[in-house]
Amino acid sequence: MIAESFTPWLGLAGGALIGLAAAGLMLANGRVAGVSGILGRSLAPTRGELAWRLAFLAGLPLGATLAKALFGDLNGFAITGRAPLLVAGGLLVGFGTSLGNGCTSGHGVCGLARGSKRSLAATLAFMAAGFATVFVARHVLGGG
């Protein structure tokens, strides 16, 4: 059963923009556009490497806001309001991506594009864990 919210063309177009941005950062600066890595290394900065990282990170909300102003809030926005869930989720995402050395962008978009087996293993692991978590939350516990 496919959800009515399925938006393949917007997905492809947005994905292409993400790929373009990652390719641009690699072509210009020779750096991987992994958001968790750039964020983590900004918390423990190396000399001469902080400014570009902060510039990249600042671009994320600015770019999203700009796109929203230009095209509208194309896909809506809905997030859980349950604080314990948000705190646990944030802690796990921060701790896990730091330990696993990457997230959806670093491993999923950049690593896979270079044919990295390490990134493939990481991507399979977080995808599997994500599918399992949602299954348990929505269909076993019935929370969601």
Binding site: G15, G40, G63, S98, G100, F126, A128
Partner: protein, 145 residues
């Protein structure tokens, strides 16, 4: 120059996240919910991003070096080890609980939504904790420097 390039890359990345729908946690959870009304959009986002980036990488690696730096800084680690798999699995659980990964979380910071703020504070705390863990680091894992 490098700051400008990075800022521009972040801007386009953030725009891509919004256009693709990945800034909406509910939509991401719709992808992760195989047993519900499945929304396959995220697979198309990954496909679009991977297609463009892989094509660009094939061109860039022949070029040999980036425009504004001495070399392509690629991750040195290649081992598929326990920290990689455990860390990625923990990340996946957190991703599945809320529907946010680091990029979309930061991209949502100007929405003025308290839930995003709370998530990002916890995200920073989790990152900080991982960087300060007391056990030895495998090669390639970012540590405090």
């Amino acid at each position: 120059m490098r700051e400008l390039a990075a800022g521009l890359a972040g801007l386009v990345f953030g725009a891509g996240l919004l256009v693709s729908g990945m800034t909406n946690p509910d939509k991401v959870l719709g992808f992760l919910d195989l047993a519900g009304g499945w929304d396959p959009t995220l697979a198309f986002v990954m496909g679009g991003a991977l297609g463009v980036n892989a094509l660009a990488w094939a061109f860039m690696r022949r070029r040999g070096r980036p425009l504004l730096a001495a070399e392509f800084a690629l991750p040195a680690a290649s081992a598929i080890d326990a920290p990689l798999l455990a860390g990625s699995a923990l990340f996946g659980v957190g991703w599945g609980l809320v529907g946010l990964c680091p990029g979309p979380a930061l991209a949502g910071l100007l929405r003025g939504d308290a839930a995003i703020y709370l998530f990002v504070v916890a995200l920073l705390a989790g990152t900080w904790l991982a960087q300060r863990r007391p056990y030895p680091l495998p090669a390639g894992v970012p540590s405090k420097r």
